[in-house]
């Protein structure tokens, strides 16, 4: 092959492929369907989180809406949902490109957010530029107020690390004042964004509440041996053990605490504690374990949601972000019914309207969902909410927790 013709081929190849990609993209929305696009991590490190919290709820909701005849429009007509989904392979670059593709190539009517704080921040400027409302559920960030102001059509629905940490301190303070636990706390945290956010907020809050941090260490993400840590915790004299941990670390520390017979009066772990699989991990000894999130298990709407999720997906949802994800979709559905698919009107409605969801009546404050459960605890077969304690539906925390 001569150099010239090879060059020509090299130049022609990408163009040909690009145009074939463009042609093979699904046809633009027809009048009778609503196209909804999302890019989520189906492979790579984020796939676990997306597979537990995000994807099942998207599938459940789309299935239910379509079974009911489609998404209801303001004029009462119903339009079936057509889904376009991409795998972002847990890469921010691929995710950003997928959003560009959904917005400009597929020209979808609505875009659902990806899983994770990083993913939601990566797409926020694009969603803003293309004008799509962004219901960022699985993003825990203390900067939510700044982001909501920066990108007017973004909604932040899972609070920040500060909220979770201070709520935990309040719960423990109440127990300390009641005399059920002493003033010593042993705390460990995973060295990633999430662990650091929580521990940074927890340290001053514990001290202010009169607790003494007798043990305070961070451990690298991926640590699987907690024996030494638990040994020192055991010897520290603390009644409360707090681990701002991440799966699989949350599971590892639980199993090893059971094996070693480490029985603090408060056993708190981070992400993963509210997962249904936690019951299996702890061998049925989950009673009294505290973690992030929680649900109002006595609420019929939540019970119904758990039943539908279990039936359709084959597993119950997690008791932290799943219900919030589903509620965000219910809000979207209701907003479309009220104002249609116009992005500006939708964003306005989401920002100002109030909505009936599985979480109860929901109204955003400054584009953020603040009506959240911050601390939960395993009581029986449910991971119930215990904080904020004064909110309707909160259960009383069981402290001290029964031994493993």
């Amino acid at each position: 092959m001569s150099l010239n013709s090879r060059r020509a081929l090299l130049r022609a190849l990408p163009l040909a492929l690009v145009s074939s990609l463009a042609l093979s993209a699904p046809l633009a929305a027809q009048d009778e369907t609503v196209t909804i696009g999302y890019a989520v991590s189906k492979s790579g490190p984020n796939a676990t989180g997306a597979g537990i919290t995000t994807i099942p709820n998207y599938e459940l909701w789309v299935g239910e809406v379509n079974a009911a005849g489609g998404l209801e429009m303001p004029d009462g007509s119903r339009r079936m949902i057509e889904v376009i989904e991409y795998d972002d392979r847990s890469s921010a670059e691929d995710l950003v490109r997928a959003i560009e593709r959904l917005a400009t190539q597929d020209e979808v009517d609505l875009i659902l957010p990806p899983w994770g704080t990083g993913g939601n921040l990566a797409i926020a400027p694009l969603m803003d530029r293309f004008g799509y409302p962004q219901l960022a559920v699985t993003a825990v960030t203390d900067k939510a107020p700044d982001f909501a102001a920066r990108w007017e059509r973004s909604f932040w629905m899972l609070g920040g690390g500060h909220d979770y940490a201070t709520a935990l301190v309040e719960t423990l303070s109440a127990a300390k004042e009641a005399g059920t636990i002493n003033d010593k706390v042993a705390m460990i945290s995973v060295a990633d964004g999430f662990g650091i956010d929580l521990v940074k907020a927890a340290r001053p809050a514990f001290e202010e509440a009169g607790f003494e941090l007798v043990y305070d260490e961070s451990y690298p993400l991926g640590t699987s041996d907690f024996a030494t840590i638990l040994n020192e915790v055991q010897g520290s004299g603390a009644d409360s053990f707090v681990a701002f941990s991440y799966p699989p670390g949350s599971f590892g520390v639980t199993k090893q605490a059971i094996t070693a017979g480490v029985n603090p009066k408060v056993f708190y772990i981070g992400v993963g504690g509210a997962f249904p699989v936690y019951q299996k991990i702890s061998g049925g000894a989950q009673e009294g374990v505290m973690s992030i999130g929680g649900v109002d298990a006595a609420n019929p709407a939540i019970q119904d949601y758990f039943a539908r999720h279990t039936e359709t997906i084959g597993a119950p949802p997690d008791s932290w972000a799943s219900a919030v994800t589903y509620a965000s979709l219910e809000m979207l559905e209701e907003a479309v019914k009220r104002v249609g698919l116009d992005h500006a009107a939708l964003a306005e409605e989401l920002s100002t309207g109030s909505f009936e969801t599985v979480l109860g009546e929901v109204k955003l404050e400054d584009n953020q969902l603040r009506q959240l459960w911050w601390v939960g605890q395993w009581q029986g077969d449910s991971f119930v909410a215990v904080s904020p304690a004064d909110r309707e539906g909160a259960a009383a925390p069981v402290i001290p927790k029964p031994e493993w």
């Binding site: 190849l13 492929l17 492979s43 790579g44 890469s91 670059e93 490109r97 560009e100 964004g193 690298p220």
Partner: protein, 309 residues
């Protein structure tokens, strides 16, 4: 002269593409230009020396992190300069201490390097700055990022072409064939490898730095994603790591193929990636360009001379 003319026209054509292709097309071009540059830079060192490096993402991530740390304190061009400087320094230190390793030891070390850098940054952020996760609010659209990557890619291919014709390129090919012979012919092994390693790593660092503003939020687990290293290697190997245009010929079709797969088979990416890896290694050990030439009768031009060299 003719080649320069063709090159100028092609670069001109490539740089106006974003105006014709729209937002998604531009996004594709960013990815394409990024991986073509990564694969070419990777092959610049690993092709002739046959040191398979899995450290791509170590440098790529350092570039991205540098931008995340400095984007609010320094003007953008200076940030890029700092990124290049940090990448080069790191490559120099790493190269000095490890380029004596050979074969599988180097592969393992280079893979570990990415994890090492990631843990070091994490440790530093946790214990010193008390924050993990940084924001990049730079007003750079996909188009500006593409143009920077295109410029970097053109420079990389130009540099690779120049090195191939220089004494250094010849020296590296001898090293790749037989280090003992190379040493006996008076080639300074350590210096030749080090120069190329630093050049290659600096370019890779810059790719990470240029792409980072697209992600807005950066934390170690996002920028040190090992998939980047694997994709770079497989792209360069598919095209042929010992040829100038090989990495490009591997990167473009593979990138577009992955893009197509992520839409058509969103649930099977990992399986398909693995199968593709095996196919490339077993069926096309020298790359597609060599395979195509093997099918055709060798002609009297530059390419066939290389094949016999």
């Amino acid at each position: 002269m003719l080649y320069l003319g063709i090159a100028a026209v092609s670069v001109g054509g490539l740089s106006v593409l974003p105006f014709l292709l729209g937002d998604y097309g531009t996004g594709l071009l960013v990815g394409l230009a990024g991986y073509v540059t990564l694969a070419t830079a990777w092959a610049m060192f690993s092709g002739p020396t046959r040191y398979i490096s899995l450290a791509t993402v170590a440098f790529f991530g350092v570039g991205a992190y540098t931008v995340a740390v400095l984007n609010e304190v320094l003007p953008y061009p200076l940030v890029l300069l700092c990124a290049a400087g940090i990448g080069a320094t790191m490559a120099l230190l790493v190269g000095l201490s490890t380029l004596r390793l050979a074969g599988i030891y180097f592969v393992i070390f280079s893979f570990g390097l990415a994890e090492l850098v990631r843990q070091l940054i994490t440790w530093f952020e946790v214990n010193v700055t008390g924050t993990l996760g940084r924001y990049i609010f730079l007003d750079l659209g996909a188009r500006e990022i593409y143009w920077q990557l295109l410029a970097l890619g053109v420079c990389t291919i130009g540099l690779a072409a120049w090195i191939r014709r220089s004494r250094l390129g010849l020296a590296l090919r001898v090293i790749g064939d037989d280090e003992t012979v190379a040493a006996h012919s008076g080639i300074n092994l350590a210096r030749s490898k080090l120069v190329l390693f630093v050049a290659s790593a600096t370019i890779i660092t810059l790719v990470g730095a240029i792409q980072a503003p697209r992600w807005v939020y950066v934390e170690p687990s996002i920028v040190f994603n090992p998939t980047v290293s694997f994709l770079t290697v497989i792209m360069a190997l598919l095209g042929g790591a010992t040829r100038l245009w090989g990495p490009l010929c591997g990167a473009v079709p593979l990138f577009l193929l992955f893009e197509w797969l992520s839409a058509r088979f969103p649930d099977h990416f990992s399986i398909l990636l693995g199968l593709l890896f095996m196919a490339v290694v077993y069926a096309l050990p020298n790359g597609v360009l060599a395979a195509i030439e093997g099918l055709r009768k060798p002609k009297r031009n530059g390419a066939s001379k290389e094949a016999t060299a």
